[in-house]
Symmetry: C2
Subunit: 514 residues, 2 copies
Amino acid sequence: MAETNPAQLNAALANPRADMEALDSLERTLFSLGYAMGEIGSLGPVIDPPKATEERAEALATLQQASVEALCDPAVGALLDRLEQEPELVGKTRMSQIKILKRDRAALVDVPAEEQAEFSRLTVEANDVWRRAKPANDWESFAPYLDRIVAALKSMAAKKDAEKDPYDVWLNEYEWGTDRAFYDRFFSQVKDCVVPLLADCMASRHKPGHSCVDGNFDEERQWKLARDLMSLEGLDEGALWIGRTEHPFTGGPSRSFVIIASHVYQDNLLSNVFSMLHEGGHALYEQNVDPEYRYTSLRGGTSMGMHEAQSRFFENLVGRSEAFAAPLLQRLVKRFPGQLRNVTPHLLYLAENCAEPGLVRTEADELTYPLHILVRYEIEQLLFSGEAAAADVPRLWAQKYREYLGVSVPDNTRGALQDTHWSDGSFGYFPTYALGSAYGTQLKAAMVAGGMDFDGVCASGDLAPIREWLRDRIWRWGRSKDSGELIEAACGEPFSPVYYTDYLTEKFSTLYRL
Amino acid sequence: MAETNPAQLNAALANPRADMEALDSLERTLFSLGYAMGEIGSLGPVIDPPKATEERAEALATLQQASVEALCDPAVGALLDRLEQEPELVGKTRMSQIKILKRDRAALVDVPAEEQAEFSRLTVEANDVWRRAKPANDWESFAPYLDRIVAALKSMAAKKDAEKDPYDVWLNEYEWGTDRAFYDRFFSQVKDCVVPLLADCMASRHKPGHSCVDGNFDEERQWKLARDLMSLEGLDEGALWIGRTEHPFTGGPSRSFVIIASHVYQDNLLSNVFSMLHEGGHALYEQNVDPEYRYTSLRGGTSMGMHEAQSRFFENLVGRSEAFAAPLLQRLVKRFPGQLRNVTPHLLYLAENCAEPGLVRTEADELTYPLHILVRYEIEQLLFSGEAAAADVPRLWAQKYREYLGVSVPDNTRGALQDTHWSDGSFGYFPTYALGSAYGTQLKAAMVAGGMDFDGVCASGDLAPIREWLRDRIWRWGRSKDSGELIEAACGEPFSPVYYTDYLTEKFSTLYRL
């Protein structure tokens, strides 16, 4: 590709305008490869026929390699350095692009290509082993891969930044500006709040129940409901495609073509409701990034944590609020008038908010969810520090689930083998799930402090004021600002977990009449 | 991308093994970009939300540019030249790849990038103007674009081959080895046969009718029928995706992910049947190219004409044959038992084969179809030779439609503005449509001469012997052999239009009792 041609880039030396053209050209290349990978990767599990797998994998690997090579070309490093010296000429948007491109490049450039390829092969194999090990409750077959993955991640982290703790390197890559010290403070406050709160809830004589929404709900009607919910949430349906898959996700090639894939279960109406509201939150973020950024590296959400903040905001802070129960119930009744005629908004609210310590993270309620994450965070730290090896994980897992959630882990299938993330090499990613929930509560507090009648907005069923608030302060900025900056600008203070613990305490104390 | 890096390629000088690796790497790059364009481009009109258009166009343009740049890199020219000198080391498959890569490269490399970009902009604009002009019967607004397109195509053709007639250059690009002399002979034989044959049919007192299949047919049932037909035709459903669109087409990223998009009309059951059989023929070709070629430039069909030969083979030679009417009717009755209970295979056969001179190419029957193509071929020649300009086209169109088809053209909407091809800059492409039909009849004659009981195979509903014959002799070769070679090897003689004219004469003389 032209923009990675060293001759062309060298010719641009001392010519800032040619440099800017080279930058724009690089961005178009990265955009087009990202667009292709976004479409091919997102649609793969949704529409591809079964035999497509092998050729799709080959195409994706080659496109990914082309993208890495375009960014890691030495001439690009020099180009970005030169342009950074010309902030006035370059302008604010391109300066942000340069910041992000340098960061993306730094995450790739110091690890030799062979080591990256070796790691990629390792995780493909590990993922395959994990897929068989999980249903077979076979920790032993997976354990050697986990040890090798941790060792490889530590080796790569050392090449990225030899001075930094390796786990900190990966935490920072998933959520810019975070490290163990940050998450230790965060999780310690969460633990101190949620562990006793959950115990009190479980001891309460007043427990909400969900029997009012139990039953069998026609699947095609549930799909119509899913569309109703996207409309209620305020998604741009002219830039949205909804497909069907087992594990819900949001993806797609661009802000104008966001893909939500989800499932419906005949015997679980609320699973569909909250999957869609959750994925819709991700989709709102993607659709509302400033269109000026659409062909640049600033497109898309700024971090995993901030993305999860949006999805859990609409799933929980809006979706599972008492105020929103009325407009939500109206949509449910429209599609299932006979089955739900005796449900009131208050009964629906109670059914949405049954806290129950369980074994499986993806089935966890709002209160117990962060404890599932806490377990993973602590075990990741122990593996990275060398205090534990893969062989110790099942024991640690059982011990921490008993301590924090009060449950006994009967097997690894529902224990340390339940998630795909470690087999994919994603260490340092789990904590962003809990952090996102906390971001959301601080954003909600800032809305209310700024004068928004949050409950009134939810009750009205017109969420436009919430969307506009988030669009202005979070969504439109894409990757041009980091989570920390966004939170501070939106809330007038740095991130603080107290909003999260206050929110959980107030909500669940009331629900369980503590 | 690494493989277009001149430094790397220069380092490979005098090192044939490194050259082969560079070739393989180039092929992977072209495969992955082609895969992406195939998926994005094919799914665009089928599933993309309305707002996706602009970003999709940008991504496609950039991916296309990357593909052209990868192939046109001067180092690639030298690489291919060096490898061509080592046929024994390189082997047969790579030698075929080199032949095709050189040909693809030659089609691009001599036209300056700016001129190509300029032409691309011109056709985007022209297509836009055409889209408005067609329903408005407004030839005047489109005419200047047509003149500019012809001028641009002549200029580009001169750069590709200054010695050759410009129209010959484009004919040859769409169908390797053809030129005006070839098509003049072909169309002259077609005209001499079909024009009087059609007149005799129209004068006959025995005309088949289609009233037995008239009626309203539920659309969802028609979609189920469409799948039945794909199964009857013998497509690999593990490598097929069927979608819905206004203008049927076959596309997709790879042989393991072939996309058919089609339409159904409630009041026209046969439209669905023959659209699906037609597109299924294209899809069979793509699915059955030798898997050894899947990551190379040899993947896919060899030419437009040979592709059309496969689609029209299954649509007409199989699909509209009297022998196939019984198994076909069985599928129709399965989905529409009440409505079709009085239809016999013979009545169905008659309904499928009503010849009727009409105005619109895409609605033409098997007999009149080549006459529509003939009109376009003759007008394209006049525009290229300068004997006519765009302003003359409506008059020429009306004159030729009257002469060949005996119909009066009431407006340009159903006249010279009906097709999109000219506005896209596709001159020299139309003739392949008629040529493909003729290829198919020669292939069928060779099957019969080789001892196949063609009618028996069709009547049995198990088309495996036909598929195996075509797979062995046509499909599996992908682009490694040209149409001319394939026909000669399959039929034991070069292409001859006599099989086509004999076929049409026999079929329609019998149908119309001439």
